[in-house]
């Protein structure tokens, strides 16, 4: 913290990590509250960022608030380090905070992500920051914010099971494949952001702190390390994750979340790891062996 304050503002014309110190303090307070009440959506004063809302302004503000000079930052978008959004956010922090960035999951201390959790298990000295478009899992059923807050306060989440019931009665399975709602710490219903449900089990008793920032909706929620995170299900229809018939065609991994890629206009397709860093790691291992 002290190191932030003695940072020479004049050198680049910004406060350290772009946001001014008072804003960062406000956001840190929201984060502390979110950590203290796992899964509860804490309102915060979202700032204008040099990025359109919906592109990760929430995650950006959380990262800016927790970033220190010694941190190593990794940014992923849909699992990949080399997509436009990931590159520009990484470059942004390299410029305004002068932090070291990396593509290796194991080296990072802060990982900002959109739509994925890295395949490599996170550790207790890492923080994962999610960009969240819609933090309110009840929104699809309860349009009124005041009503939704009461439902959270009273913990009456029966309405969420209607969706599950309807899917099972119509299709035989729950059709939500991403942004699958979870109960955090046995209390609050929370949206895990649009990660595939494949990643939901990684949140359960994760060693890393998870912070979710929704810039446009002005909410922050968090899952502290080692917290129970249960995906909604019925006793006789337990929660399951996606299963892939094939392995990654680049690295051969069988345990990762795969993206389908069309190779030509005749329908030839391949499956590759969506987590590019994990894919590279597996490939290197195979070459070494």
């Amino acid at each position: 913290m002290e190191a932030d304050l003695i940072f020479d503002d004049d050198a680049i014309g910004y406060s350290f990590a772009y946001l001014d110190e008072m804003t960062k303090r406000m956001i840190r307070r929201a984060i502390l509250k979110a950590v203290a009440v796992p899964g509860y959506q804490v309102p915060f004063g979202s700032r204008e960022m040099p990025l359109p809302p919906g592109w990760g302004t929430g995650g950006l503000q959380v990262t800016a608030s927790i970033l220190g000079r010694d941190d190593v930052l990794k940014v992923i978008d849909q699992g990949a380090d080399d997509t436009t959004n990931a590159i520009s956010i990484r470059q942004f922090f390299a410029k305004v905070a002068d932090v070291v960035t990396t593509e290796r999951t194991g080296e990072a201390t802060i990982i900002q992500t959109r739509h994925r959790i890295p395949e490599r298990a996170l550790t207790e000295d890492q923080i994962i920051v999610f960009q969240v478009p819609n933090p309110e899992p009840l929104r699809r059923f309860i349009p009124e914010e005041a009503v939704a807050r009461k439902i959270h306060a009273f913990g009456r989440y029966g309405v969420m099971y209607v969706r599950l019931y309807e899917d099972i009665s119509r299709l035989g399975y729950v059709a939500m494949s991403a942004d699958y709602p979870v109960i955090v710490n046995g209390r609050y219903l929370a949206s895990p952001s649009p990660i595939p449900k494949f990643d939901n089990p990684k949140l359960h008793r994760s060693r890393a702190l998870a912070i979710f920032g929704a810039g446009r909706e002005r909410r922050i929620h968090a899952i502290p390390p080692f917290t129970d995170v249960n995906s909604l299900d019925f006793v006789d229809h337990p929660f399951t994750v996606q299963h892939f018939e094939t392995c990654c065609s680049v690295c051969g991994a069988q345990d990762s979340y795969l993206d389908e890629i069309l190779l030509d206009d005749r329908g030839t397709r391949a499956f590759v790891c969506s987590d590019t860093a994990y894919c590279a790691e597996q490939r290197d291992k195979r070459i070494d062996a």
């Binding site: 306060a153 009273f154 309405v159 209607v162 599950l164 019931y165 009665s169 006793v235 006789d236 229809h237």
Partner: protein, 259 residues
Amino acid sequence: MKPRGREVLRVKRLFKTFGSVPACRAVSFSLRQGEVLGIVGESGSGKSTLLRCLAGRIQPDDGTVLIASDDYVVDLWAMDEASREQFVPTTVSLIHQNPRDGLRLEISAGGNIAEPLMAAGGRHYGSLRATALEWLEKVDIDGRRIDDLPEVFSGGMQQRLQIARGLATHPRLVLMDEPTGGLDVSVQAKLLDLLRSLVLELGIAVVVVTHDIGVARLLADRLMVMQRGRVIEEGLTDQVLDDPHHPYTQLLVSSVLHV
């Protein structure tokens, strides 16, 4: 005469005004298990307001609403909102005049019956499904229509579905606001038959608000006549309808058309 159970509901000097308009003035009554109380009166006499005060929807200005649960009695408007929200859905069920107010039209018939059960903690799909089927059968809806949306149901079917949804949680107290309003007479007759047999079978306490004297005569054991927020006459249904004392009740009874 049906056997009467223990007291389920006791209302003491209930007052509610909207601005300068009084809707309920010193309404008091009590209701036992297995008993059906009819409330009749013209539009604007405060019937529906009274029902909403009993259902935990509108807070009365004064008076108490006591509801007996399994082994304790709660004062509905003295407890905090969180406890009330917990208590009401499992104990009291409100059947609306318009089924569209009481149903979720965008979810299936089965989902509509299962929703209050899931809200009460039901987490077993198979048993939710079985309960939904059982209730569809009870209200005379073909089980094959369990996955249809209520939107495609006829008005009478929607009302029966609403009743199934309202009763599936086994409430102790059922409040019906004009349950047969807006239905044609033959459908009304069937619905009344259904309600009567369900009330007998389940032994629940029912308050039924209606402006239809025929409905009151068929369903209610006791009758309360309201006018401008006051209870002006009450007694056994036959007694009130055959020998009305208050001029307004006399007017009400005499204005029924005989075919």
